[in-house]
C-alpha cells in the first residue's frame, strides 16, 4: 500500500507529534499522522476524540502547541494550493444570499489573487465541477433551498474546482441521503484513480472497510493507523472507543486510552 514510500516520494501528509490543547484539556496528544499518496483514509474515533481538530491543525486553521505538519515533504504554507478542504456542512450559514454555482466558484478564489473577480472561465470550471457531482440542474438555486445531501455535494464540487492533490473532508457522509452517499463514494474512488489523496473524518464504522484503504483510529492520541485490513480490528476499536463499541459490554474509561498503537 505504501506506494509513496516505496517510490521514494514524500508522504502526502506527514504530521509528527501534534499536540493541541484548549485551556488545560488536551485535545490532541502527541499524534502522528502519515498519509501515503493516492489512498482514501478514514479518521475514526468517538465524539470529542479530536478528529476535526486534527484536520484543522493539518490545515493550519489551529496552531498546535507542539508538532509539525508536512505536505509532500514541505511546510503547509508552501503547499496550500495542493490541499482542498471540505468543512462540515453545519459550519456555515446556508441562508447566505447566494447560489450553488457561486459557492462552487469560491473554489477558484485561491488562484485569482487580490481584487480580481472570477470571470467566465472560473464560472465554467465551477459549472463543470457541479456536473461532476450531478448538480448541474441546481446551479442557480439559492443554497438554502438545497437538501442536506445537495449542500454536501456543493461543498465537494467547490473542493474539486480547487484541483488539489490532497482533499481533507470533515464528515462528508454526515446526514446525506443514500443517493448522495453513493455519489460521494464514486467521487472518492475517481479521485483515487487520478492519484489524489483523500482524508475524511468518518462516523459510520460499518462502511469503513468498504469505502476506505487506510484508517487512523483516534482518541486524543493516535490509537492505531494503517491499512484497513490490518488496523481496523475489534481490539483496536475497543481501545479507541473505550469499550463502548456495539456488542462489547462495559464502560471502560480513560485508562483504555493509554494503550499505545
Amino acid at each position: 500500500m505504501r506506494i509513496g514510500l516505496r517510490t521514494g516520494g514524500a508522504l502526502a501528509i506527514q504530521a509528527t507529534d501534534l499536540t493541541l490543547a484548549y485551556q488545560q484539556r488536551p485535545v490532541l496528544w502527541d499524534v502522528d499522522l502519515e498519509v501515503p499518496q493516492g489512498v482514501l483514509m478514514a479518521i475514526v474515533g468517538p465524539n470529542g476524540a479530536g478528529k476535526t481538530t486534527l484536520l484543522r491543525a493539518v490545515l493550519g486553521l489551529l496552531q498546535p502547541a507542539a508538532g509539525e505538519v508536512l505536505i509532500f515533504g514541505q511546510p503547509y504554507a508552501s503547499q496550500r494550493r495542493r490541499v482542498a478542504y471540505v468543512p462540515q456542512r453545519g459550519s456555515v450559514d446556508w441562508d447566505f444570499p447566494t447560489t450553488a454555482l457561486d459557492i462552487v466558484t469560491m473554489g477558484t478564489y485561491g488562484g485569482l489573487g487580490w481584487v480580481r473577480r472570477p470571470g467566465s472561465s472560473e464560472r465554467a470550471r465551477a459549472a463543470a465541477a457541479l456536473t461532476e457531482v450531478g448538480m448541474e440542474c441546481y446551479a442557480d438555486r439559492q443554497i438554502s433551498q438545497l437538501s442536506g445531501g445537495q449542500q454536501q455535494r456543493i461543498f465537494l464540487a467547490r473542493a474539486l474546482v480547487q484541483d488539489a492533490d490532497v482533499y481533507l473532508m470533515d464528515e462528508p457522509f454526515q446526514g446525506v441521503d443514500a443517493t448522495t452517499e453513493r455519489a460521494i463514494v464514486e467521487l472518492l474512488r475517481a479521485l483515487r484513480a487520478d492519484g489524489k489523496t483523500v482524508v475524511a473524518v468518518h462516523h459510520d464504522l460499518q462502511t469503513v472497510t468498504e469505502y476506505f484503504d487506510e484508517v487512523t483510529l483516534l482518541n486524543v492520541r493516535r490509537i492505531a493507523g494503517g491499512p484497513v485490513e490490518r488496523v481496523f480490528t475489534e481490539e483496536n476499536l475497543r481501545h479507541t472507543y473505550g469499550g463502548r463499541v456495539a456488542g462489547i459490554g462495559g464502560r471502560a474509561m480513560g485508562n483504555d486510552l493509554e494503550s499505545a498503537s
Binding site: A77, F96, T98, I103, Y109, L112
Partner: protein, 377 residues
C-alpha cells in the same frame, strides 16, 4: 409636496437631503455585511461607544470640524470593539455580556464628558448634545462633503475586496485555507462597519444609528437571494429612509434620528410581510392554498373510493355523512362546491354526491401521481 418642491430651491433642504441620502447609501451598503455576519449588536455597541470619542475629540481640539469629530467617534468605536473582543477572549464573560458592559461604560463616559462640556462657558454653541438623537437640520455643506468622502472610501474598499469579503462572511475557515489573511480582512470589514456608523452619527445620533446600519440590510435580504442585489437594495433603502426621514423631521420638527429610524423600520416591516419569496403574507397564502388543494384531492379520493365500493355504477350518488365526520363539514362543503363548479362532482336530487366521469378521470390521475412521486417531482 412643497417639501419636494423646496428641494430644488431651498439650499438647506437640499443639503439635508443630499447628506441623508449619502449616509443612507453608505450605512445601508456597508451594514448589509454586518447583517450577514451577525454583527448587528456589535454595531449598536460601537455606535453608543462613539459618544465619548466625539466629546473628547471636541475637548482636545476645540474643533467641531466633521472630520475631527468623526475620527474621534471612529477611534472610540474601535476601542469598544477591541474591548468587547478582549473581554470575551480573556475572561469567562460571554460576548453578549461583554457588549452590554462595553456599551454602557463607553456611553456613560460619553454622557459624563458631554455634561462637562455643556457646563463650560460658551459651550452651548458646541451643540454636541445633537449627537445623541441626531439633527439633520444642523447639517452643513462641509458635513455632507466629509460624509461623502469617508463613505466613498468605505464603498470603494467594499467593491475592491468584494470576493474576499463575501468568502469571509460565508465561510471564513475555507477562506483561511485558501491563504486569505482572514484576521486582517476581518479587521478591515469591521473597520467598514465603523465607517458605516460614524458617517451618520451627527444626523441620526449615537443612540439609534445601529438601526440605520441594520434595517436596510435586513429589509433588502427579504427581496433577493443575491449578495450584490442585496447590498444595492440596502443602499437604496438606506437612502430612501434617510431622505424621507430627514425631510419629514425637518418639516414636522421632530428629532431626525428617530424619524429616519421609523421610516427604515417601516421598510423592514413591509419587506418582512410582503417580499415575494420570504414574506410572511405570501407564505400564509401559499400554505392556505396548498391546504385547500390537499382538501380537494382528499375529497376527490374519498368520492372515488366510495364509487369503487359501489361497483358497476360509478356515478351513483353517495351520502356524504361519513366524509363530513372524517374531514369536517366545512372543509367538505367547500371542497364539494368547488368540485361542482369545476364540473368534477355533482349533487343528485336525493342530496347525495358523486364524481362526474371527468371527476373520476381526475381521481385516477391523482392516485397514479401519488403512487409514483418521482413523476410529480
Amino acid at each position: 409636496m412643497d417639501v419636494l418642491g423646496g428641494l430644488f430651491v431651498d439650499h438647506t433642504l437640499r443639503t439635508v437631503a443630499l447628506g441623508s441620502a449619502t449616509l443612507g447609501i453608505v450605512s445601508g451598503a456597508l451594514g448589509a455585511f454586518a447583517v450577514l455576519r451577525r454583527q448587528a449588536l456589535l454595531g449598536d455597541a460601537m455606535s453608543h461607544a462613539a459618544l465619548p470619542g466625539v466629546a473628547l475629540a471636541f475637548l482636545m481640539t476645540g474643533s467641531r470640524a466633521p472630520l475631527v469629530l468623526m475620527l474621534g467617534a471612529a477611534i472610540a468605536g474601535w476601542l469598544a470593539a477591541l474591548a468587547i473582543i478582549g473581554v470575551a477572549r480573556t475572561s469567562r464573560i460571554k460576548t453578549d455580556s461583554a457588549m452590554a458592559l462595553t456599551l454602557s461604560v463607553f456611553f456613560g463616559a460619553g454622557l459624563v464628558v458631554l455634561t462637562f462640556i455643556q457646563r463650560q462657558p460658551a459651550a452651548g454653541k458646541a451643540g454636541l448634545d445633537k449627537f445623541l438623537f441626531g439633527q439633520a437640520a444642523a447639517m452643513l455643506e462641509s458635513d455632507v462633503i466629509t460624509m461623502a468622502a469617508v463613505g466613498a472610501l468605505g464603498l470603494f474598499a467594499l467593491l475592491a475586496l468584494w470576493k474576499e469579503f463575501k468568502l469571509l462572511s460565508f465561510d471564513p475557515d475555507f477562506a483561511a485555507t485558501l491563504g486569505m489573511p482572514t484576521r486582517r480582512l476581518d479587521i478591515l470589514l469591521t473597520g467598514l462597519l465603523v465607517i458605516a456608523i460614524v458617517v451618520g452619527l451627527k444626523t441620526v445620533g449615537v443612540v439609534l444609528m445601529s438601526a440605520m446600519v441594520v434595517a436596510p440590510g435586513a429589509a433588502a435580504r427579504q427581496w433577493t437571494n443575491h449578495l450584490g442585489v442585496m447590498v444595492t437594495l440596502a443602499a437604496l433603502f438606506g437612502a430612501a429612509a434617510g431622505v424621507l426621514g430627514a425631510l419629514l423631521s425637518t418639516t414636522a420638527e421632530t428629532s431626525t434620528g428617530p424619524t429616519i429610524v421609523l421610516v427604515a423600520t417601516g421598510l423592514v416591516v413591509v419587506s418582512l410581510l410582503f417580499a415575494p419569496a420570504r414574506g410572511v403574507v405570501w407564505a400564509r397564502i401559499r400554505a392556505w392554498r396548498s391546504r385547500r388543494m390537499l382538501a380537494l384531492e382528499a375529497v376527490i379520493a374519498d368520492l372515488a373510493s366510495l364509487a369503487a365500493q359501489h361497483g358497476s355504477n360509478a356515478t351513483h350518488p353517495h351520502d356524504i355523512g361519513a366524509l363530513n365526520a372524517v374531514r369536517g363539514r366545512a372543509v367538505v362543503e367547500r371542497a364539494l362546491s368547488e368540485l361542482a363548479a369545476d364540473g368534477l362532482a355533482r349533487q343528485h336530487d336525493t342530496g347525495g354526491w358523486s364524481l362526474t366521469p371527468r371527476g373520476l378521470a381526475e381521481a385516477d390521475r391523482l392516485a397514479r401521481s401519488r403512487r409514483a412521486p418521482g413523476v410529480a417531482r
